[in-house]
Symmetry: C2
Subunit: 485 residues, 2 copies
C-alpha cells in the first residue's frame, strides 16, 4: 500500500469507527501534513482518493468535509445467530434440498422477467459495463481467431488471459502463477469444479449462514452434507464456531466469501482472514473462496482474499469478470492451489473449455489497460446507489427493520420485524412487479423467514420499488405506516 | 426426402451393397429416367448429388462412373464382441475409473501438444471451419449487444438461436419446440446435464462398447455403474444384448451415439433406431443420444437421430456446433424431451449460461443461411480425406489389421493383429511426434488393447504419420514389413 493509500485508509477507518462523523471538517492539507509527518502532496492524494470513493467532499474555499451515511442507516442486524451446536450435522437431504432449489429457481426466474424491478436479482445493472468497448475487442478477437486457439484455449484456458489474471493478483500482492489458473464458464463453474475436486458424496462441507444459495444447490447435487456456521453481518464467519465445527464434523471443505459476502455484504477483517486460513490449515481442510465481489470495494483499496495468507496451497480462490466487467460473457476462473490439476481435468471432462473468442477479448481488454478506470467508476456508482437506497429503506420500512452496512458489492440484507414473512412479501411484491430475494433461499434449514436480500445496483425504479416494498412490509408487520419525514 | 434424394440414396445403397462396383458406368440420364419413371432433371439432380458426395465422377463425353473404395479397404473388425452376460454389472469404482481418466487425459493432452500429428485428436482440423465469417458475425453481435441479453440469454439460452436449432430439426422432419431446447457449453455439457437429470449416485447406465471416453468419465464423476453393451462396428448397439441388459439391470438411462459413433463410426439403420426407442420406452428408460457427428454424413441425406421416433419425451438429444461449424465457441444444446425443465435448472445452477455474444453470433449465422453450403464442403473434404487415409492404412499396416467403414464423421477404428499393444504403440508414436487414441480409453474394463481410433480429419502430415504408425505396428506385431505395392 502506498503512503497516501495508508493515510486514506486510516481516515476512512476513523469514519467507520465514528471518530470522524458526517459533517466534520477534515484538517487542512497543511495541518494534516504536519500532524501526520507526510508531504502535502501525500495528503492531497489521500483526500483525492477519499473524495473519489464518495467518503468526503470538498466545499469551495472551505476544505474537505466527511460525507456521512451513519445518520440515515437503519440499525444493524443482530449478530447473535444460533450457535453451531444447534444446527450441526444438519443434512441437506434430497427432499429438503429440492425445496430449496425450487424456491431459488422461482426467485431467479421472477427477477429475470421483463418489466420487473430486479431487487431480487443477483446481477448489477448491465448498463454499468463497457459492453461496447468489449464488443470491439471481441470483434477483433473473432476476426483474427487463430484456428489453433480452438484447441489451445481449452482448459486450463487462454494463456494471455491467465497471465493477465496472474498480473492482477500480483498487483494486489499475491503471487499466483498463471499455470495455477483455470479459466471457467463464470465463477459458478469454478466453485462447482473446486467442490468436485475435494469432496466425495457423503462428505460434509462447512458453509456460512446465511449462505449463497448456489452453494446449497451444489452440495445437493454432489450428495454432500452441509453444516451452516454462524456468520457475522459485518465480519463474516464466526471463527470460534468454525473451530467447533471443524473438530466435530471433520469436513472435506469449507466454502465461503471473505469479501462482501452474498447475501450479508460482510467483509472479513485481514487479521481474521489470516486466522481463518491458519485454522483450516491445521485441520488440512481446503477452503473454497468465492471472491466475485472483491473488486467492488468502497474503501480505498481492494480487500485481500484469504488466498493471500495461504502457504499450503489449500485455498481455492474463485473470481469472475461477470460482476465487474463482462456480464453475459461467462468468463471466470479458479486459482485452486494444489488442486489446480484436478480442477483442470474436471473442467476438461465436463465442459471442455470456455468460449475462445470471449477469452481472447478479455485478455486484450486487460492488456490494453482501462480496467481499473472502469472499476473506479463502477465502485463510485454502486457506492452512490447504496447511499440513496439505504436512505429509502430507512424512510419507508417499518420500525424495527435492521440492515447490514456493506462496504462493497451491491447487496443489502434486511431483517424485518419479527412476524413479517419474507416469502409472502416476495409473492406480494411480484404481483406488483418487484422481485426480492427472500431470506429462506439462503439456508437449507428454512431460516431467515423475516429477512430479505435487496440489490441496489439498479437505477430505474429501484427507489420507488423500495417505497412499495416498505408499504407492504408495514402491512405485514401490522404497523401503521410512518409518515415519511 | 425429395425425389432426387431418394433416387440418389437408392443408387448409393446399391454401391454399398456391391451391386454397383467401383468403375461401373451408371445408366445414362435418359436410360435412368425411363427405368426409374422419373424426369431426366430428377436423374440429373441425383447424379449431381452423388458426384458432390464423391461417390461418382463424370468423364467427359462418356457418362458417370462409380468411384470406389471397396478395393482398398482393409477387412472390417469382427462384430463378435463378448456377450453382455460376461460383463454385466461391472462397476466403475473409484480406483478403476481414475486409471481410465488419467489415460484419457494423457491422450487428450498429448494430441494438443504443438507439432504433434493429431491422429489421436477428437477434433477435426480447425482450418476447415468458417472462422472468419463467424468472427464478423461475432463482431456484430459483440458491438450491438443489448445489455438485457446478459440476463435474457442465460439458460435455457438465446431465443433466436433456439429457434434456429428448432428449424434445423424441422428441416430433418423432427418437431422440436424451441422451448425444449437448452443451449449449453458444447455437447459435452449437454450430455453431462442430461445424465445428472435422470440419474442418482449408485444407478446403472447402459453404454456402448467401445464407448466415448467422456461417458466413462461422466459415470465415474456421478458415482454411477456402467454396463457396456456390445456394439456392432457398422450398425451400432446390439439390441438383443440391450434387451437383456434392460431386463437384468433396471438401468436409469442408456447413453449412446446412433450416428457415426465415437470411436467405431457405426451408423444405426433407421429401423433399428425405431426399435431401440420402442425397446427403451417399454422399460421407461431415458435415452441420452449424443449426435454431434450426425451432420457429417457422406451419403445423400442426414441420418435421422433416434429422437425422430420418440413419442414419449424420453429421448434426450444432444448436438453441437463444435464439430461442424464453430470449434472453440463452445456452443451446443440439448433437446431433453420431458426433462427439459430439469436440464435448464441444472444448467442454471452449474454454469448459469452460455457466452451471450457467441450465442448471438451463431444465431445470426444460421439466420443468414450458408450453413448447409459450408456443411457440404466439409463433408466432401472429410470423405476425400477418409479415402486417402484408408488407402494409406491398407498400404502400411500389417496383415490382419481390420478397419471400420464409417459413412460419416472423421474417425477410423482399427483392430490390429492380436498381440499389438495399442498403449505401447501410443507411447512409441508420441516419441515420434504422432498422437493416437488407444483402444483401452474407450472401455472401463481395459478392453480393446489391440485397437486404435485414428482421426482422418487433418491434412498436414497425416498420411506420413500413418506410414510411420504402420511401421511401428509391423514391428510390434513381429511381422516383416510388406513392401508398399
Amino acid at each position: 500500500m502506498k503512503r497516501y493509500e495508508a493515510l486514506a485508509e486510516d481516515i476512512a477507518q476513523s469514519m467507520r469507527q465514528g471518530v470522524l462523523a458526517p459533517g466534520d471538517r477534515l484538517p487542512s492539507v497543511r495541518q494534516a501534513s504536519k500532524q501526520r509527518c507526510v508531504s502535502p502532496s501525500t495528503v492531497f492524494q489521500a483526500y483525492y482518493l477519499l473524495e473519489a470513493r464518495g467518503l468526503i467532499r470538498a466545499r469551495a474555499r472551505s476544505g474537505y468535509y466527511v460525507l456521512g451515511h451513519a445518520a440515515v442507516w437503519p440499525p444493524e442486524p443482530d449478530a447473535a445467530l444460533p450457535a453451531t451446536g444447534t444446527r450441526a450435522g444438519a443434512e441437506i437431504g434430497h427432499a429438503a434440498s429440492v425445496e430449496v432449489s425450487d424456491r431459488v429457481f422461482d426467485v431467479l426466474e421472477a427477477s429475470r422477467a421483463p418489466g420487473v424491478a430486479p431487487l431480487g436479482s443477483a446481477f448489477p445493472e448491465a448498463g454499468l459495463f463497457p459492453l461496447q468497448r468489449l464488443g470491439r475487442l471481441l470483434a477483433h478477437a473473432g476476426q483474427r481467431m487463430d484456428p489453433a486457439s480452438t484447441l489451445d484455449d481449452l482448459s486450463p484456458g487462454n494463456a494471455r488471459l491467465r497471465r493477465q489474471i496472474a498480473l492482477r493478483y500480483l498487483a494486489d500482492g499475491l503471487t499466483v502463477h498463471p499455470d495455477e489458473i483455470v479459466v471457467t464458464n463464470g465463477a459458478l463453474e469454478a466453485l462447482n469444479l473446486c467442490l468436485s475436486a475435494v469432496t466425495r458424496p457423503g462428505d460434509t462441507v462447512l458453509l456460512e449462514s446465511p449462505t449463497f444459495y448456489a452453494a446449497l444447490q451444489a452440495l445437493e447435487r454432489h450428495g454432500l452434507h452441509a453444516v451452516e456456521v454462524p456468520t457475522h453481518p459485518r465480519e463474516g464467519m464466526d471463527l470460534a464456531a468454525l473451530a467447533q465445527a471443524l473438530a466435530q464434523h471433520a469436513p472435506a471443505a469449507c466454502w465461503l466469501m471473505t469479501n462482501f459476502q452474498n447475501p450479508l455484504g460482510s467483509l472479513m477483517p485481514e487479521a481474521k482472514k489470516r486466522e481463518l486460513v491458519a485454522l483450516l490449515a491445521r485441520h488440512g481442510v481446503p477452503l473454497i473462496e468465492d471472491d466475485v465481489y472483491g473488486e467492488l470495494y468502497f474503501s480505498v483499496r481492494r480487500p485481500l482474499p484469504a488466498k493471500a495468507y495461504d502457504s499450503q496451497g489449500l485455498v481455492m480462490h474463485c473470481g469472475s469478470f461477470s460482476k465487474c466487467l463482462a456480464p453475459g460473457y461467462r468468463v471466470g476462473w479458479a486459482a485452486p492451489g494444489r488442486f489446480a490439476r484436478a480442477v483442470t481435468r474436471l473442467k476438461l471432462s465436463t465442459t471442455l473449455g470456455t468460449c475462445a473468442p470471449a477469452q481472447a477479448a478479455l485478455a486484450a481488454y486487460l492488456e490494453k489497460g482501462g480496467y481499473d478506470r472502469h472499476l473506479r467508476r463502477l465502485r463510485d456508482t454502486l457506492a452512490a446507489r447504496q447511499q440513496a437506497f439505504v436512505q429509502a429503506v430507512a424512510r419507508h420500512f417499518p420500525e424495527g427493520t435492521r440492515a447490514t452496512r456493506p462496504e462493497g458489492g451491491y447487496f443489502l440484507w434486511l431483517e424485518l420485524p419479527a412476524g413479517v414473512d419474507a416469502l409472502m412479501l416476495h409473492r406480494h411484491a411480484l404481483a406488483q412487479g418487484i422481485s426480492v430475494a427472500p431470506g429462506p433461499i439462503f439456508s437449507a434449514q428454512d431460516r431467515y423467514r423475516h429477512c430479505l436480500r435487496l440489490n441496489y445496483g439498479h437505477a430505474d425504479g429501484a427507489l420507488d420499488a423500495v417505497e412499495t416494498l416498505g408499504r407492504m412490509a408495514h402491512a405485514l408487520a401490522g404497523q401503521p405506516r410512518r409518515r415519511p419525514a
